[in-house]
């Protein structure tokens, strides 16, 4: 009985879990449903992938846009002013630098005039004039001269002006000369055109008017640099004058001797004449030197350089060989610079975007981990 009950129970239980009738093919419905979901998911994943890639690309582009212009700005287009005058110092140089110069400045001075002498501080403005070493006798003579009120100083000045209208400033500078006082323009040069016009003048102005001329030049433009020097040559002049007096005295004595000894032997007369000639020659030389110094002292020399505000590089015309060489050099240098800029830009993008790419990778891994953590069938 119990076995029959068990068997009947087993049969009925089995019947409870038996599907009667046709199968509803629910697996097809599931496939269709998951097919749509997976298509959406794939599209969503594609969308997410494109979103992240676009985001990473946008971030990299922003970093690139920031990094590259800053590099380019550092290599600014404003180039160093290269004056068309060889070796001239930059307007930013201080007067002392100008003075140190640039050998080219000295050479320019030499080109302008051969009368430049070693520098010393400008006496009345910068301080006391410095005495040359080892010239105690001359110092005495100079002192004597100063005491007598005679002081001989060779004055010179160099000035750099920036003017919007270089040509007008140049013309005005020429008008400052007073020919009645023996002043003149020793040298003038105008080079370039338009915004690249440069001008330079070497003015010889009366020493007494030097300050006045310098002040007038200040008004022609913006003063960029100025250098004024003065060398006290009083001692030299006094010495010259003393030696000249001596030589003249010797000449006079020799003439008197020659007159008194007309009946002297010929040999003596010739010797006297020879000595007299030598003295005369020395006198002439010293007179010339004295006059030269006198001219330097009486007329100060002013070198004025006038340039436009934002000067661009003007290459002076050079020979074809130099031009060809310079062009090749510029092309090679430019190519190298471009290569460096390109490489640095790539590096900026890679390195700058690396952080974001790492973050993106971390996010993707986290999302995948979350998705994978779904248990199958609830188990």
């Amino acid at each position: 009985m119990s076995d029959m009950f068990e068997q009947e129970l087993a049969g009925r239980l089995r019947a409870l879990t038996t599907w009667e009738g046709p199968k509803p093919q629910v697996w097809r419905a599931a496939l269709k449903r998951t097919g749509r979901e997976m298509a959406r998911g794939r599209g969503g994943r594609r969308y997410a992938l494109w979103f992240w890639l676009s985001g990473a690309a946008a971030v990299a582009a922003v970093i690139f846009a920031i990094a590259l212009p800053s590099q380019q700005a550092a290599r600014s287009q404003a180039k160093r002013v290269k004056l068309p005058f060889e070796g001239l110092a930059s307007p930013d140089d201080t007067p002392r630098e100008l003075e140190a110069g640039v050998p080219a400045l000295s050479s320019l001075h030499r080109n302008v005039s051969n009368e430049w002498l070693p520098h010393s501080l400008y006496g009345p403005i910068a301080g006391q004039g410095q005495q040359a070493p080892g010239q105690s006798e001359n110092a005495v003579a100079a002192l004597a001269g100063q005491l007598r009120g005679e002081r001989h100083v060779i004055r010179k000045a160099t000035m750099e002006l920036v003017a919007t209208d270089v040509h007008t400033a140049y013309l005005k500078a020429r008008l400052l000369i007073s020919e009645a006082q023996g002043e003149y323009v020793q040298e003038s040069t105008v080079r370039g055109a338009g915004d690249a016009l440069y001008a330079s003048l070497t003015l010889r102005v009366a020493a007494a008017r030097l300050s006045e001329v310098l002040n007038a030049l200040h008004e022609l433009g913006e003063l960029k640099s100025e250098n004024a020097t003065g060398e006290d040559v009083t001692a030299q002049i006094v010495d010259l004058e003393a030696r000249l007096r001596n030589e003249r005295q010797v000449e006079t004595e020799l003439r008197e001797l020659l007159t008194k000894r007309e009946d002297a032997p010929l040999k003596e007369i010739l010797e006297l004449r020879r000595a007299l000639g030598g003295v005369r020659e020395e006198i002439e030389r010293m007179v010339a030197q004295r006059e030269h110094l006198g001219r330097l002292v009486s007329l100060a020399t002013v070198l004025v350089i006038i340039r436009p505000p934002d000067a661009t590089v003007i290459e002076p015309p050079a020979g074809i060989g130099a031009y060809w060489r310079d062009s090749l050099t510029d092309a090679w240098t430019g190519g190298l610079h471009f290569l460096v800029r390109t490489i640095s830009s790539f590096v900026a993008v890679l390195v700058g975007g690396l952080v974001w790419w790492v973050l993106l990778l971390v996010v993707v891994l986290i999302v995948r981990g979350v998705l994978r953590r779904r248990t199958v069938g609830g188990v």
Partner: protein, 204 residues
């Protein structure tokens, strides 16, 4: 004649893009799974279809991630059981919220049960005995469903799995992830309880 591919091979084929492989798996197991689901859900066929469909959805989604730690058959049955459990939990929660006993707990209001076990049309005069017999059988089956539904969830699953035509006892143990010895002892206990429940309703 090509050798029949195993369930795991078919699953791998489906993961590789062959939809027909899923059809073969459905041909092998869908009817049995529907029957089990119907039994777990008190004979409600529509719910059983939903549960099995949901199970197929999960198989499709995670086909590529099947690690082969268990057999596909037991894996599939496990999914179906969990889906049925989820449906019953949702139903119970909904009934608790609305008030009243969850529908279909006794199987009386179950459309599936009605469809399966009740005869709406009038019986011909010559089949009165047959109708009475069917009615008696229906009442017996109804009583059995009520008794099974009254069992605790774990024992109910054990009984239905062990008496399910598509599973052997070792496979049932594998589905439930318990040792076969444990399954045997629990089955014995479940049958005893079921007998008690049936004894209250069974004719003397």
């Amino acid at each position: 004649m090509p050798a029949e591919r195993s369930d795991e091979q078919l699953l791998a084929d489906f993961a590789g893009g062959r939809s027909a492989a899923l059809g073969e798996l459905a041909r092998r197991y869908e009817r049995a799974l529907l029957g089990l689901a119907a039994g777990l859900l008190g004979g409600r066929r529509e719910l059983a279809c939903d549960a099995v469909q949901e199970a197929w959805v999960r198989v499709i989604r995670f086909a590529g991630r099947f690690r082969g730690e268990s057999r596909f058959k037991t894996w599939m049955y496990r999914i179906v059981i969990n889906q049925c459990r989820t449906l019953l939990d949702n139903e119970r929660a909904l009934a608790d919220g609305v008030g009243g006993s969850p529908a279909g707990a006794s199987g009386e209001d179950c459309p599936g049960f009605t469809e399966q076990s009740r005869d709406p049309g009038p019986a011909p005069a010559g089949a009165a005995h047959a109708a009475k017999r069917e009615s008696d059988e229906g009442e017996t089956e109804d009583a059995l469903r009520r008794a099974v539904a009254a069992l605790p969830e774990e024992r109910r699953a054990i009984i239905l799995l062990c008496y399910h035509e598509g599973l052997t006892h070792p496979e049932a143990a594998e589905v439930l992830q318990i040792p076969p010895g444990t399954l045997k002892s629990r089955l014995h206990a479940a049958l005893g309880e079921l007998r008690e429940l049936l004894g209250k309703e069974a004719p003397a």
